[in-house]
């Protein structure tokens, strides 16, 4: 057997390298000069900025980056580009938002920033990885960092519970995932997505492939909080500090979607004439369609019944996972590579719109709920529309975007993910889209409820307007502009997300 050229290329993973280095720098700095939260935050932001610049640079095709490198372990395609943008944005916003929390509660900021950067590194691996092993590595790096972050509020029992629950159930999910990877390897003889995609037309053991795929769905389903693997979500989200909740609801979820899309849409495609592949394709599409409908419906109905805003947003994040699944299923049904790329871009774009909106909402909750998130019940928001009108209107904007009102990011996101599913012209998929739309109508109730309590109810208790640190102001301004920008001028970004950068194209430039 001859060893293939491993095709070592540092440029392709330049953004990942930068983030990892920044993480190490922050960690080491914190060891020797602890408690300098401004500096570690600044270094982290600079690292993220540089990673973003590196991404933009290879995106433009200037680096002459090949489509795959490192022996096919990593790949440079539109899925990676779109999702990595989401991760970098989520981390940067989380750092900005965390300033208020770090100050109020005297959290060890250096640790937090280092953990966040490592989590980001893990997420980026999950998007760039073209091999199940790389994806799993990324997932574990991400998960371990997140388990710790959920428990950062050491003195708070709820935070400890949140961290513990997340750890135990997360490990279980990882085990499922690993088992799934092993079974798929057994069936196809490879862990490489491209090779798996070629092999599923004629697998060694078709039954193993199906069982493996089922395990993978369980594992990823847990990470994206899809029903029926969602039960951990509300407790974990409620217990974790609001800043971390915002991060968990957007970053790791988007990362799980990146790998989920990679493995299923690209790894398990429909191959005309191949019996095993056709059966697998039909099976996973059907299962995911059922999961998507359940996820949206259960998430929405449970959200209606919540009295705590953080819990409401936790269930809302479940239902949003459902909407995103609609896009993923649509991508799985795409007839051509171009259509598939567009659908994948739609999923990435949806995650972007969702992340911007949700992080904005959590930034406001961090501000309004104050120390230890004590005031996160709906009643605590009574009548603040008159007391802090700017904050209240901003919150209302985020709620409307989550609901999917036109002119906000949420609307374009929804249209984009529903489109590929309708395009398929398949009855099952049409049913899924109709269910999604009805669910959107249901969701109006609880998103509006927050607006109703903020603006239409009278406040009976006293209210002190929160002090807004400059960094949080920046985060809020970025998210507000983002909601409008993506909602009105999202065109350019969607096109960039849909375009596969190929070597040929890069050379032409």
């Amino acid at each position: 057997m001859q060893l293939a050229d491993p095709n070592v290329n540092l440029t392709i993973i330049l953004p990942e390298i930068i983030i990892a280095v920044a993480g190490v720098v922050v960690m080491l700095y914190d060891c020797f000069f602890p408690r300098n939260r401004v500096l570690t935050g600044a270094v982290s932001l600079i690292g993220i900025g540089l990673a973003g610049a590196a991404l933009a640079w290879i995106w433009s095709g200037a680096g002459g980056v090949p489509v795959t490198a490192w022996g096919g372990m990593v790949t440079h395609d539109n899925l990676r580009l779109g999702f990595t943008t989401v991760f970098l944005l989520v981390s940067a916003l989380t750092i900005l938002i965390s300033t208020v929390w770090v100050e109020q509660e005297d959290v060890a900021a250096g640790e937090f920033h280092a953990l966040l950067l490592f989590a980001t590194f893990g997420m980026m691996l999950m998007a760039v990885g073209n091999d199940m092993v790389v994806i799993f590595l990324g997932l574990e790096t991400l998960s371990i960092a997140t388990y710790v972050m959920a428990g950062l509020r050491k003195g708070d029992l709820r935070s400890n519970e949140s961290s513990m629950k997340y750890f135990v159930l997360g490990s279980l999910a990882s085990a499922f995932l690993l088992y799934g990877i092993a079974l798929v390897y057994g069936a196809t003889g490879s862990t490489n997505i491209t090779e798996i995609a070629a092999k599923i037309a004629d697998p060694n053991f078709p039954a193993l492939l199906l069982v493996g795929a089922a395990m993978l769905i369980v594992g990823f389903g847990f990470k994206i909080a899809a029903v029926p693997f969602h039960v951990w979500t509300p407790d974990v989200y409620e217990g974790a500090p609001a800043t971390i909740t915002g991060f968990m609801a957007t970053g790791p979820k988007a990362a799980a979607f990146a790998s989920f899309t990679r493995v299923f849409v690209i790894g398990f495609p429909f191959i005309a004439g191949a019996e095993a592949a056709g059966y697998l394709h039909q099976a996973w599409i059907t299962v995911m369609a059922v999961i998507a409908i359940l996820t949206m419906t259960v998430g929405n109905i449970a959200a209606i019944m919540q009295n705590n805003v953080k819990r409401m947003l936790a269930f809302s994040s479940i239902s949003h996972a459902g909407y995103t699944l609609v896009g993923l299923i649509g991508a799985g049904f795409a007839a051509t590579t171009a259509a598939r790329d567009e659908a994948v871009a739609a999923v990435a774009f949806y995650m972007l719109t969702y992340a911007v909106t949700t992080l904005g909402a959590f930034a406001l909750i961090t501000l309004l709920a104050q120390r230890n998130d004590r005031r996160a019940e709906f009643n605590d928001f009574n009548g603040i529309g008159t007391r802090s009108p700017v904050l209240a209107f901003t919150m209302a904007l985020f709620m409307l975007s989550l609901l999917g009102m036109p002119l906000t990011a949420g609307f374009i996101g929804k249209v984009l993910v529903f489109r590929p599913a309708l395009e398929a012209g398949n009855t099952l998929l049409t049913v899924v889209v109709v269910a999604a739309v009805l669910n959107t109508a249901i969701s109006a109730y609880y998103y509006l409820r927050l607006i109703v309590v903020m603006f239409f109810k009278e406040r009976t208790t006293s209210w002190t307007a929160p002090q807004i640190p400059a960094a949080v102001t920046a985060a809020i301004i970025i998210t507000v502009l983002g909601v409008f920008y993506l909602g009105i001028f999202g065109n350019g970004l969607i096109e960039k997300f849909s375009r596969s950068v190929t070597v040929a194209e890069a050379q032409v430039k």
Binding site: M405, V415, L422, G425, N491
Partner: protein, 530 residues
């Protein structure tokens, strides 16, 4: 001048939104609320004056004036395509005309957070104009939904006691309907993509493809799409049995909100039916017309009967809206030129008359803070001018000849009478029966409105609290006079209105009836009042 006329519609959409920004900036910077209403009034009046330029337009080859079509989000395939024709022209003018009146009506009424109130009013105006001029389905949907949010806040913050229930109900009913429409809109895109190779949200492109036979709907698809659009619009109109949000929303809304709701927002539903449902799905329109006619008649009679027993003036007027909008729907689904022209005309009439009624109820509410009919009685002796205006408006609403309501209702009745849409065979035609039932609605309208007038204004002044009531102020008179003038003008000389809309309406009617093999009856002239 060219620049203005080329972008006239865009200016009309953006001007109120900029007004909103101006109000916001002013209140944040000067912290003084005294000037806000003047700024708002200035912007709405300017918008009205600019909108008058629309009358100077000449239709292009495709029947639209002031058309503008530029790409917007290409990834989705949607264009910013706007234009007006005979159908939308009057509705845009109605919107710009009613807005200054709505602003003036709340001159002293808004004490709580005036800046936000005026911002929402202006944003609402932008959205409403956007709805009437969009020719791209997605852009239309966008404005249609966007109009919900300001109204949601207007009712929720400045409404009556039960405002939260009313506004949430209003929002959820309407949002539910419009989401169904969104699915249908996206489905149309893909049906067009499958049929012709290019997807489009553009109404005119879709119509052209249907015309040339490139795009056709299979049996259940056309009906389902029709229903998705129609239910959304029926909720907005509202057609019985989707009307239950309306009385609540109307009763709880502040006066300006009620006026806009009645005058413009309800018209979005009937406008949508005529603009989208009929031309896109002519077959389904014909097939399902009997159902809509029956629902419209139920709405007319049910609305009138329920209005009769309302103890609250505003609720009474709200139910009368259900009945009046029933007439509009009836006229449209008759698919005759008379009926459809009448429907369009009645949309304008209803906007003016019912808007005026809500204003009048608002006037007395500001004085006495009650709307219960039993609290009043004999007040014509203390408020003679108010009584005169009220009776006049009531007459217009009932449809007294030489006032606007008569022209609309008469055209609709004649249209229904001549309609062939209900004929099962040549001998068994239900159109006469339908017309007869609808006709009873006119009588009922006279009963409940006149009875209310009698209980409020005539007889002895029984309630001592009413003795000191002041008659209308100059501001209130100034608001009512343009409305009263229009009631008379449109009643005596409807020709200029009907002439402008005729070509568009006839084109829609022909489109629906042509494939039926039925008769396309060309009436000589619909302007019947000499």
């Amino acid at each position: 001048m060219d620049l203005i006329s080329e972008n006239l519609l865009t200016i009309l959409i953006l001007l109120p939104a900029f007004g909103g920004l101006a109000v916001l900036g002013h209140s944040l910077y000067w912290k003084d609320d005294g000037h806000l209403k003047w700024i708002t009034l200035g912007f709405t009046v300017a918008a009205f004056l600019i909108s008058l330029l629309l009358l100077s337009g000449t239709p292009g080859s495709n029947g639209y004036m002031f058309e503008k079509n530029i790409p917007w989000i290409q990834a989705i395939g949607t264009n910013y395509h706007v234009g007006v024709d005979g159908l939308s022209l009057w509705l845009v003018l109605l919107t710009t005309f009613i807005m200054p009146i709505a602003v003036l009506s709340s001159w002293h009424a808004v004490e709580k957070r005036p800046a936000a109130f005026y911002v929402f009013l202006l944003l609402l105006q932008s959205a409403m104009i956007g709805v009437f001029v969009s020719l791209d389905l997605l852009v239309f949907y966008l404005f249609f939904e966007a109009s919900l949010v300001p109204m949601f806040f207007l009712i929720g913050i400045w409404g009556g006691e039960n405002r939260i229930y009313a506004t949430v109900k209003f929002f959820i009913f309407t949002a539910f309907g419009s989401l169904l429409m969104l699915v249908a809109i996206i489905a149309l895109y893909y049906l067009h993509l499958q049929a012709t190779g290019t997807g489009t949200f553009d109404l005119l492109t879709l119509l052209a493809s249907l015309e040339s036979g490139k795009l056709a709907f299979a049996a259940p698809v056309g009906t389902l799409l029709f229903l998705a659009f129609a239910i959304s619009f029926a909720i907005k109109v509202p057609v019985f049995p989707f009307h239950t949000w309306l009385p609540d929303a109307h009763t709880e809304a502040p006066t300006a909100g009620s006026v806009i709701l009645a005058a413009v927002l309800l018209k979005m539903g009937t406008y949508g039916l005529m603009r989208f449902n009929f031309p896109l799905f002519p077959e389904a329109s014909r097939e399902l017309a009997p159902i809509f006619i029956v629902l419209a008649i139920i709405g007319i009679i049910y609305g009138a009967l329920v209005a009769m027993v309302q103890p609250d003036m505003k609720r009474l007027v709200a139910y009368s809206s259900v009945a009046h909008m029933g007439f509009v729907v009836l006229g449209m689904f008759s698919f005759t030129e008379w009926g459809m022209q009448g429907a369009l005309y009645q949309m304008l009439n209803h906007g003016i008359s019912t808007g005026a009624l809500f204003l009048l109820v608002g006037f007395i509410y500001e004085r006495r803070h009650t709307r219960a009919i039993t609290e009043y009685g004999g007040i014509s002796s203390v408020m003679p001018l108010y009584a005169t205006f009220f009776v006049f408006t009531t007459m217009s609403s009932i449809g007294l000849p030489f006032l606007n309501g008569f022209v609309g209702e008469f055209l609709i009745m004649v249209g229904m009478w001549k309609s062939t849409i209900l004929s099962i065979t040549d001998s068994a035609n239900w159109n006469y029966i339908a017309t007869m039932f609808a006709g009873t609605g006119v009588i009922f309208a006279a009963v409940y409105l006149l009875w209310m007038v009698q209980r409020i204004f005539f007889g002895k002044l029984t309630n001592e609290k009413n003795r000191g009531l002041k008659d209308l102020t100059y501001r209130e008179i100034g608001l009512m006079v343009p409305l009263l003038f229009l009631m008379v003008y449109m009643g005596v000389y409807p020709k200029p209105f009907l002439e402008r809309s005729r070509d568009t309406v006839v084109a829609i009617q022909e489109r629906v009836m042509r494939q039926a093999g039925g008769t396309v009856d060309h009436d000589e002239h619909t302007a019947k009042a000499e």
